[in-house]
């Protein structure tokens, strides 16, 4: 099974990659826009925080399953995900539309 504890190094690299996406790519933050991006098949990767309500999390995962888009469960709560995005608000789920210069889409979906 996947290692229970995410190592510090991979966690930081996810944060770095996310920061690069924020700078150079296109993304949307928030549940409504995540579903919109999935419906129009624009989203390429979905990131969900660990304290996202389970019903909402399964709904996003179901949409992503229909879309064949990867979902990454971020190792941190919505406060941490907001900080990782460089925002001063909480972010429970986000969708990456264009990764820009980042390789987050190639490196992440191996992990689910």
């Amino acid at each position: 099974m996947v290692s229970g504890k995410k190592t510090k190094k991979t966690h930081e690299s996810i944060n770095n990659r996310l920061a690069l996406v924020m700078k150079s790519g296109k993304f949307t933050l928030g549940y409504k826009t995540v579903l919109k991006s999935l419906r129009t098949s624009k989203g390429k990767l979905i990131i969900i925080s660990n304290n996202c309500p389970p019903l909402r999390k399964s709904e996003i995962e179901y949409y992503a399953m229909l879309c064949k888009v990867g979902v990454h469960h971020y190792n941190g709560n919505n406060n941490d995900l907001g900080t990782a995005c460089g925002k001063y608000f909480r972010v429970s789920c986000l969708s990456i539309i264009e990764p820009g210069d980042s390789d987050i889409i190639k490196s992440l979906p191996g992990d689910h």
Binding site: R39, T40, S41, G43, K44, Y63, M65, L66, C67, V69
Partner: protein, 135 residues
């Protein structure tokens, strides 16, 4: 990255009078139209599900129990929950956007979809579609 809101997709209506009912997408308007500048689709759904038919029912009873009442509606994508199921019943010729213009055209469309749904129910296929969603 695969589009899934396509014709023949089974969906569940989430809002409105038909909330909780299952339907099938007949035609999707991803870009919207002038009247509806958002993604929406034509859904043909079940207003009243058929009851459970058992083996010892008489012919008259099975006919009565297999009756399906249908609705035809333009629904915003936001008010639908897509599912992994599909229902390939050919409704394209019967359910069209202009069937919703006048009341009698709508009734005619509903009657035609009712026929098609009932015959599909009687074959015993797509059983998930014809069972009521319990919530």
């Amino acid at each position: 990255m695969v589009k899934f809101l396509k014709p023949n997709k089974a969906v569940i209506v989430l809002q409105g009078r038909y909330a909780g009912r299952k339907g099938v997408i007949v035609k999707s308007f991803d870009e919207g139209t002038r009247d509806r500048p958002y993604g929406h689709c034509l859904v043909a759904g079940i207003k009243k599900y058929p009851s459970k038919v058992i083996r010892k029912d008489s012919r008259k009873k099975t006919d009565k129990k297999s009756r399906v009442k249908c609705f035809v509606k333009l629904v915003n994508y936001q008010h639908l929950m897509p599912t992994r199921y599909t229902l390939d019943v050919d409704l394209k010729d019967v359910v069209t956007a202009d069937a919703l213009q006048t009341k009698d055209k709508k009734v005619a469309a509903c009657k035609a979809t009712k026929e098609r749904f009932q015959e599909r129910f009687k074959t015993g296929k797509n059983r998930w579609f014809f069972t009521k969603l319990r919530f």
